[in-house]
Every structure is written in C-alpha cells, then in structure tokens.
C-alpha cells in the first residue's frame, strides 16, 4: 500500500500547487486579502505532501519492494541500506521527485521566512513558484511515474544500482545540485513578481540576494562534488570534461554568478534593474534547459538519463511556457522597472558591469558549444560536436580577462573613482604578484612555464589585492563591525584564486604513467617510489574484486599504503575501477588498476602524481562558504524584522 499512498500524496501535492499558482495570484490583482493570505499555508501544505510522497518512495527502496518497477530496476537486496536510500534518486523518476521536494522546500522556506514581505509581493512570488511546481509535478505524474508497479510477475531481486553511482560522493552530489537549480527559481519568482507589480527597488534586491546567494552556494558545492566524484570514481584522474551534463549545471552557475553581482549594484545603487531581472530569468531558464538537455536525449552524453521523447516534448513545452512567458512579460514591463541613474566609467559599477558581460559571454559560449551538435544537425549541416578544445580555447581567456578587474573590485568606489587612486592603492600587490608569478615556475618546476607564470601572476594579484583590502579595512574599523557579506565576498574571491591555481598547476605539472606491473615490482614516478606488494581477491557486499596493495615511499620514508581495486558487481556484471588516493594539500598520489595482463599475473597500473589538484575543490568550497556566509549579514535580518508596507510591488501599478 505504501507506494499507492505515495502516489496519492503526489497527486494531492499537485492539487495544492495548482491552487497556490492560481488563487493568491488572482487575489493579488483583485485586492482580495483572504485569497492572498492563503499562499503560505498552501505552500507549506504542498511541501508536506511531496515530502510524504518522497518518504513513501524512499521506504519502497529501503524495504526492497521489488513490485515497484523503479525499485526493481535500480536497487538490489544486497546493497547496503544507505545505498538503497540513495538509489531513490539515482534514476530519472526518483530524481524528479527529489527535485520537486527541494523546490517545495524552497517555496515553504520563502513562505516561512518572508512574512515581513508585503502580502501582494509575497503572494505573487509564491504563486509563480507554485506554477513551477505544477509543471514538474505534472511532468512526474504524467511522464515519469515513480510508483508504477510490476504486478503480477514481481521480480525476486532488483537489477542493482549503476555501480558508478554506488558511492558517497554520488549520494550527495545530485541533492546539492538540485538545491542549486531549484534555488534559482526563488530569484526568478521575485523577478516575475517585480515585473507584475512594476516596482523594483533596493529593498526588492535586498530580499532577493540571500536566496540567490544560497542557491548559488548549493550549486557550487554540487558542481564541485561532481568534479571530485569524476576524479576518484571514474578511475583516470580527470576532473572536468565539458560533457553536456556537466555544462548543463555549469551554465546556470555562470548566469547565477552574473546575477549575484548585478543584484549587488541594484541593491546599493538602484542601477541595472531590468538587467538584473533578465539575469534572474536567465539563471532559472538555464536550470530548466539543463533539465531538458539531460532528460530528453537530444544530446549524447556519458551520463545522461535514459531518454524518452515524450518527456522531452513535455519539458520543452513547459520551458516554452515559463521562459517564453517571462521574457514576453519582460519585454512589455521592463520599462516600468528601468533605472535612470548614471555612473562614471571609472567606478565600481563599470567593474561589475564588466563582470556581468564576461559571465554572460561565458554562459553563451558554453551554451553554444553544448548545443552545437544539435544546431548543425537541425540545419542539416551534419553531425559535429566541438569537444573540450573549443571550450578551453574560449573559456580560459575569458576567465583570464576577468581577474585583473576582480582585483580592483573591492578597493573601488561606487559612482565615481579615479584611475590614479586605483594605481596608488594597488601598485604594491601588482608588483608583488608579478615577482611571485615569474619566480614560481622556476622555484617549483625548475624551468620556465608560461601558463603557470600567467596563472600565478593573475591568482596572486587577485589574492593580494583582496588581502590588502581586508588589511586596510581592519586598520580603519574593528573586525566585528565588518559585515558578514564582506567576509563572504573575501572568501568567495579568494576561493576563485585558489581554484585558478589548482586548475593550471595540475594541468601543467601532473605526471601520469600507465605501466605493466607484477607483485614485487617497484616503479618511480615524480620522485615517489611505488612498490606493488601483493594482489588478493576481495569480497564486498554486492561485488567481488581484485585488490592490489602498494607501498609508496619518498626518500626511503613510507608515505602511504594504497589499495586500489578492480570490482565486478554481481547483479549487473559491470566492472568498476576503484582508485586509491593519498590526498595532500600540495599533491595527490593516485593509483588505479587497469586491465589484467598475462592471465592475471600482471596488471596495467596507472600511477598518477597530481600536484595542487585539491586546490580546485578547496577553492570551490571557499566560494560556496563565502556565499553561505553572506546569509548571516545583519541587514538581511533587519529587512525581515522591519515589516514596512511600501516595500515591493504595489497594486496601483498592476
């Protein structure tokens, strides 16, 4: 019965979402207080029922109810309970339920935390979010029902979860990613409500900012975990592939980054208003587009979901409705929210405008590269894809172009500044970064390396300019008086510098050797000696494996004992490489088993030395941490306490 309860709960949730998307919105235009006041309760009710549906689905997985088709296809009685639970979202249908669960959680959070918002604005925001929820609930119920049964003929055991997904990184990667994706729906809903009301002011931006920052932080963590997972689980040490599915999550992140900076200008200076609204629509549209690309089968990818044209048609229609509708609204209503304040070219506004342009171009570049195969195919020019060389060639210069300006950002003043002041303030960090950058490749690598030099100069410049600004602030004011949003900005920008260093150093200095080794062999890679001690069979809960045992020495001293495995999963027969990694702040040592040779007496072994690879993810964590930190800023809480009527959209303009 439990799966049927879940199915019912899903349907009830759809009903409540339908009410939420219609009743408060109509009320807001007719001035009906009662209808508008229903919005928060509907939002919370909708969340409760989707939570019940999710719990029922999760229970079916954990309790091995193989009469549910989804469980039979994606789980197995031999799997550990934690993995059974995670298998709930390790498939298309279940991940959709998780997606809606998070969307509803965001909606409920807006309903709970935004009671100080003017009722008209709040009811419109919640209605727009309700509409998004209706779309995805319908999608789930009509095209991807997670509770479908196999009766009669229930299988004895399940087909097992894809072994690639049987991993802690994969348990939390999709949830974080979805939190980010759907989080942008809040900024989107605020933007649509502002367009409907025809009013957009500093307080509107202040309301939108924490939600946007939180969504961006989750998305950053989600992307970072995906990259980390690919690194250790796919078994060849790569960490980013420009795969369509990766790009699908990266595009909203890029647009979201532009949005965060544009919102700052809108809040502080009342500028870029219609631009901010457009970016909010973009960021969420790209989240929807990502869903479409991953689940419709229009592009081939290593890790796309099984595709189904009916699903593609549904998401595309929904995409057309939401994005087309909001862009039409934007085209007609943008003049109502446009700002008419000026600023000088040498000012913080221009720097942030530059940031916006770079990130928008980067977004479009990735979008174009991702859709390129589809476009050429649709125009009947043939079937081509652009591949990583294209993305690297266009993306890296854009980021390099960005950094010189990022260093100036925090030091710069709003409205009007002078180039001379910038020069005075920043000449010291610039010279220091140049010296460090030029010396670094010689000191670390022993020879000149152009890319390393450029990367260290840029990252050094950014970090030093940031730290200098922090130092000046601490000299002039007590650290307690510095707002949380400033600390968050510092952490995020320093994180970016750290990621840049990691990306370039690992791509320039990594040493990878693939060798044939037998137990007893010793090999030398990048100054480390690897001894292949032994080879033994390993019995896991739902797999059997060949396990190798290595001792890694440096200068005669033991550094690590590493035990990579080659696993064969029993239910599916799939073979998986479990790499063994000794992680360190300045280098990773990575061993993976390739193929057995000479009838299993020897193995192809990959020995990798990866300097600074952790910096890539450490930087991403710092960026996410910074974005979370800004949520603690007092002015967001003040805004919440001050329940003032004139905030946000008004009836008169509607």
């Amino acid at each position: 019965m439990i799966p049927e309860f879940g199915h019912f709960a899903l349907i009830i949730s759809l009903g409540l979402a339908l009410l939420l998307s219609v009743v408060p919105l109509l009320g807001s235009f007719r001035g009906d207080q009662k209808a508008m006041a229903m919005a928060p309760s509907l939002a919370i009710g909708q969340f409760v029922f989707i939570a019940i549906a999710f719990a029922c689905l999760a229970w079916s997985f954990v309790a091995d109810d193989f009469s549910v088709a989804l469980v039979a296809n994606h789980s197995n009685s031999l799997m550990p309970t934690v993995l059974k639970f995670a298998a709930t979202w390790g498939n298309h249908e279940g991940s959709m339920v998780l997606w809606i669960l998070f969307l509803s959680a965001w909606i409920a959070a807006v309903a709970v935390f935004s009671t100080a918002l003017p009722l008209v604005l709040l009811s419109r925001v919640l209605s727009v979010l309700g509409f998004v929820a209706v779309g995805f609930l319908l999608f789930s119920l009509l095209t991807s029902n997670p509770f479908e049964r196999i009766l009669p003929g229930t299988p004895q055991d399940g087909a097992d979860l894809n072994p690639l997904l049987q991993d802690p990184g994969m348990i939390i990667h999709p949830p974080l990613l979805y939190m980010g994706y759907v989080g942008f729906s809040v900024a989107f809903a605020f933007a649509i409500a502002a367009l409907m009301g025809g009013r957009l002011d500093a307080s509107w931006a202040r309301w939108s900012r924490p939600w946007t920052n939180a969504a961006w932080a989750f998305l950053s963590l989600g992307i970072m975990l995906g990259s980390w997972w690919a690194y250790y689980e796919l078994g060849w040490g790569g960490w980013w592939f420009w795969d369509p599915v990766e790009n699908a999550s990266f595009m909203p992140w890029l647009a979201g980054t532009a949005l965060i900076h544009s919102l700052a200008v809108t809040e502080k200076r009342g500028l870029f208003r219609s631009w901010t609204v457009l970016l909010a629509i973009f960021a969420f549209s790209l989240s929807l587009l990502g869903t479409f690309l991953v689940r419709s089968g229009v592009l081939t990818s290593v890790h796309a979901f099984a595709s189904d044209p009916a699903r593609g048609v549904f998401i595309l229609a929904f995409l057309g409705l939401v994005v087309g509708g909001s862009l039409t609204l934007y085209a007609f209503r943008a003049p109502a929210v446009q700002s008419r304040i000026g600023f000088e070219w040498v000012s913080r506004e221009s720097l942030l405008l530059f940031n916006n342009v770079v990130f928008l171009v980067a977004t479009l570049t990735v979008l174009f590269g991702t859709l390129f195969p589809l476009i050429t195919d649709a125009l009947q020019l043939g079937k081509y894809s652009v591949g990583p060389p294209y993305f690297n060639a266009v993306f890296l210069p854009l980021m390099a172009l960005l950094i010189p300006f990022m260093g100036v950002g925090p030091t710069s003043r709003w409205k009007r500044d002078t180039g001379r002041r910038w020069l005075q303030e920043l000449v010291a960090p610039a010279i220091a970064a140049l010296i460090i950058g030029v010396l670094f490749p010689f000191v670390y690598g022993g020879e000149f390396n152009l890319w390393v030099m450029l990367a260290v100069i840029l990252a050094g410049w950014l970090a030093l300019a940031m730290l200098r600004d922090l130092y000046m602030r601490l000299r002039s004011s007590r650290w307690r008086s510095i707002p949380a949003s400033y600390w968050g900005m510092q952490a995020a920008h320093l994180g970016f510098a750290i990621t840049v260093v990691g990306v370039v150093l690992v791509s320039q200095y990594a040493v990878e050797r693939d060798l044939k080794m037998r137990p007893g062999d010793v090999e030398e890679v990048a100054g480390y000696s690897f001894t292949f001690n032994s080879l033994e069979p390993v019995q896991g809960p739902n797999y059997v494996a060949d396990g190798a045992n290595f001792t890694v020495l440096r200068d005669g001293k033991a550094v690590a004992v590493l035990q990579p495995q080659k696993r064969r999963y029993l239910a599916s027969g799939q073979v998986m490489t479990e790499a063994a990694i000794d992680a360190g702040p300045f280098r990773d040592i990575f061993i993976a088993m390739g193929e057995p040779l000479e009838g299993g007496r020897a193995w192809a072994i990959r020995l990798h030395y990866k300097p600074f690879v952790r910096w890539i993810w450490a930087g991403a964590i710092a960026m996410a941490f910074g974005a979370f930190l800004t949520l603690a800023d007092r002015r967001y809480r003040r805004a919440r306490q001050r329940a003032t009527a004139p905030l946000g959209g008004g009836l008169e303009a509607a």
């Binding site: 060849w236 085209a331 193929e595 192809a604």
Partner: protein, 195 residues
C-alpha cells in the same frame, strides 16, 4: 515625449523593441530544441550508410607512411574514432582490446589529437588497432560526419560503411548490435567468395 520630438520617439520605440531581443533569441533556441527532439543523435546521416569509405590519404600513427582507404579494407572491420582527450574512449578501450585479441580487425582514426600523446596512450593502455589513421585536422572526420569521439563504424570487405555507432562500445552494444551485423556481413562475404 511629445509629438514635436519624432527623433526621441523613434529612439524610445527602438529601445522598447530591443527588450524583445531576449524573447526572440529564446524562440530561435526553442525552435532548434524542437527540431532536435525529432532528430536522433545516434543515427547516421542516411547518405553515408552503404556508401564506400570517403577517400583519404593520411599518415599512420607512429609510422613513416601514408595510408589511403584502399589499404585498410578487404575484411569486415571496425573503424574506431578515438582521441586522448576523449573520456569515453578510455572506457571502451579495454573492450576494444579484447575484441582485437579475438581477431577482429580494428582500425583507429585518431581524431584531432596530438601524435605524441596518442602514442603514449597506446603504449600505456595497449594498442588494439591494426593501425591508427592520424586525422589531426579532422578532415576525415568531417567527411565521415563524426559527431564526437568515440564513434565506431562497421565497414564490410568491399570498404562500404554498413553501420555507425555513436558512443562507447561495450559488451551490451557488441552482443546486441555490432556482432549480429558483423556475423551477417561475414556470411555475405563467404557466400560471395564461393560464388
């Protein structure tokens, strides 16, 4: 904004028109997505199926010689598009090696790659290919209509392309798709030899 200011007015109209630009762009994009839904990224343009391999004259990887289409035909064989930058190529590599060990002729098309890196890759992971054609510029790929690596073509003894597979070749693809096609082609070939 008075009637006496026509220039100002047209400026405003233009500005308002510009606001429709995002919508217009989205509609174009939506059109492509709609068409894309009806296309199958896995399907070969029908033009190339049952056509001979495009003619080419390209260097062989790690060898001081140039090969053309005539030198790589004569048997039912696989043509595998690969590159060191291609993630999925690593996944299918062991399986291709296994197929080659069982006697299936496989030719590589090393697509938009660096020779040194490609040689290092084959050195380290093993070389399942009879030879690899160096397609550094992607010209052969262009003629074949390569969508992306990895991609595998079944070519019959007469050098005619009979099937194209986009994506990784694994046990499942082999057992369900490629093996039946190759078995059939070999039967045809034997029948042809006898007659």
């Amino acid at each position: 904004m008075h009637a006496s200011e026509p220039r100002h007015r047209s400026g405003v109209a233009l500005k308002r028109l510009k606001l429709f630009l995002p919508l217009g762009l989205f509609l174009v994009l939506g059109g492509f997505l709609l068409v894309g839904l009806r296309l199958d990224p896995q399907a070969l343009p029908s033009a190339l199926i049952d056509k001979p391999l495009p003619s080419f004259s390209l260097p062989a990887l790690g060898q001081e010689r140039v090969v053309d289409q005539g030198m790589v035909t004569g048997e039912v064989s696989l043509f595998n598009v690969w590159a060191t930058w291609c993630v999925s190529c690593r996944i299918e590599h062991p399986f291709l090696t296994e197929l080659a060990l069982n006697g299936l002729p496989i030719y590589g098309i090393n697509y938009k790659d660096e020779d040194a890196e490609a040689l290092r890759w084959l050195d380290e992971l093993g070389d399942p290919y009879r030879l690899s054609i160096v397609d550094a510029e992607g010209s052969l790929g262009l003629d074949l209509g390569v969508y992306g690596a990895p991609e595998t073509y079944v070519v019959d003894a007469a050098g005619v392309i009979r099937y194209r597979h986009v994506g990784v070749v694994n046990e499942l693809v082999w057992a369900q798709t490629l093996k039946p096609i190759i078995d059939e082609l070999r039967r045809e070939q034997r029948a042809g030899d006898r007659s």
